[in-house]
Amino acid sequence: MSVDLQTRVSFRLLGRSILAFTLTPERPVVEWFRELDQRVLSSFGFFTNRPLILDLTSITPNKAEALEIIARIEERNLRLMAVEGVAPEWLPHRLAPLPKSFSSVPAPDITKMPWDENPPTGAPPDSLAASQSCTTLLIEEQVRSGQTIIFPEGDVTIVGSVASGAEIIAGGSIHIYGTLRGRAFAGNNGNTKARIFCSKFDAEILVIDGLYKTADDFDHQLIGYPVQARLNQDVMNIEAM
């Protein structure tokens, strides 16, 4: 047998982005946990293996409270990836605070790197304006079971169907020219104006700006028809088109 001594020509360092959901407990915490339990129950499997970030900034707990909240979340088999808003030394090592680039401060505008000699002028767009700009991701094929499309920058348009077990996550609206059988998350950057459109509705879950409806909540008369989903205050409306 020969030993392969071929030299490597390049070293690949690939960027990878994941989407984590943020839990933001509110006082009274007991009440908040009750609501969390309802959500977990009503969307069976949704939180399984999803990385979650616990943001305690708004309730400013003391150390004992913070640890209690973490323990209660973990005993529900939810997978915490990091905790924000408390002193780092309180936390168990595995829940280290997020590195800077992950935290919820707006990401630096990539067109204005420090080494860039001629940074573009003009005020950077705020997040809402950015998500309303005309950035669109166009996908001209079926999205298959197990695939996830993540496009925080704007709208996603799919010319084809989205299979059961597939996910579309968009900062803006989602347009599906085919059957939506999987999951759609629109307005993921806090865009309440985002909508979800599909030419044939058979979804597993619809989410707009964190508010969601599961298949159990859908009006069954709409299944199979073209629909749009949008937010009206804090209520998601799904309408035939």
Binding site: M1, Q142, R144, S145, G146, Q147, A163, G165, T179
Partner: protein, 271 residues
């Protein structure tokens, strides 16, 4: 120009091995030089369906590791001289296959055969990925039921991302073969309809193989159904599918057992 075809499904027990043997034999009957390769290392079955289980000396893993030459491991079929089998190992597991070894074997097979048909293991792990890695075309085996269809959808996604062709920005040619189709049960709504399966997967249909005890009988005798009982409904469906793979235009219908047809006429049962 040699063509590498992977027979895959995601879900187990839907008929990958049976279909590999039947399509392989049918292509060989059409005069092509065919090798069927069993990638199910650890749970090999293709040798049984091909009736060659007592003739296995060296296997895919031996060749991949360089412990045997390819020609030592290839088993020539006793019925069709242009049909060969490259068996899997029963004693090793799927980690025993190296990506480099598989690449070398496929390259060598391409010089000797017109069709290289890879029988994929179930699942979406390493074994299944290795089996599809070098494919030019894929036959996706689906039963008309929701779990099988969703698993097939997952596999199609992998064909579009994990294969060599996908990495080069090309596409793997895909064909859908619906197996274990029961017209009566589909008519009663107990199975997904063919058009529903096609709507969900949107892959061109290669054929519909009716559910038949003939298939099981042939497998137990160690014969591909297309050789064991060429006039049976499943054998005719596989032969038509093989001709479509060769580029022939063959009208699509679901062959039914002649016996059942009479039953249906005289039994008065609507299909």
């Amino acid at each position: 120009m040699a063509k590498v075809l992977v027979v895959t499904s995601g879900k187990g027990g839907v008929g990958k091995t049976t279909s590999t043997a039947a399509l392989g034999a049918a292509l060989a009957q059409n005069g092509k030089n065919v090798v069927v390769v069993d990638f199910d290392v650890g749970l090999r079955n293709l040798d049984l369906v091909m009736g060659a289980e007592r003739r296995v000396v060296y296997d895919l893993v031996n060749v991949a590791h360089g412990n045997a030459k390819l020609h030592q491991a290839l088993i020539r079929d006793k019925r069709l001289e242009n049909l060969c089998l490259l068996p899997a190992s029963q004693t090793r597991d799927k980690d025993a296959l190296s990506e480099k070894g598989v690449a070398r074997i496929i390259k060598e097979l391409r010089t000797q055969f017109d069709w290289i048909i890879c029988d994929s293991p179930a699942g979406i792990e390493r074994g299944a990925i290795l089996a599809m890695r070098h494919a030019d075309a894929a036959v996706i085996i689906t039963n008309p039921e929701v779990s099988s269809v969703r698993d097939s959808d997952r596999i199609i996604g992998l064909l579009d991302s994990k294969t060599e062709r996908a990495e080069r920005g090309e596409r793997v040619e895909k064909h859908l073969l619906i197996t274990r189709f029961d017209q009566a049960r589909a008519g009663r709504g107990e199975m997904l309809k063919v058009e529903d399966v096609l709507d969900i997967l949107s892959v061109p249909l290669l054929g519909i193989i009716p559910e038949s005890e003939q298939v099981l009988r042939a497998s137990n005798l160690g014969q591909p159904i297309t050789l064991a009982n060429p006039m049976s409904a499943p054998a005719r469906a596989y032969s038509d599918a093989a001709r479509r793979l060769l580029g022939d235009e063959v009208a699509m219908n679901v062959p039914i057992e002649r016996f059942n047809l009479l039953n249906r006429i005289f039994g008065g049962r609507a299909a």
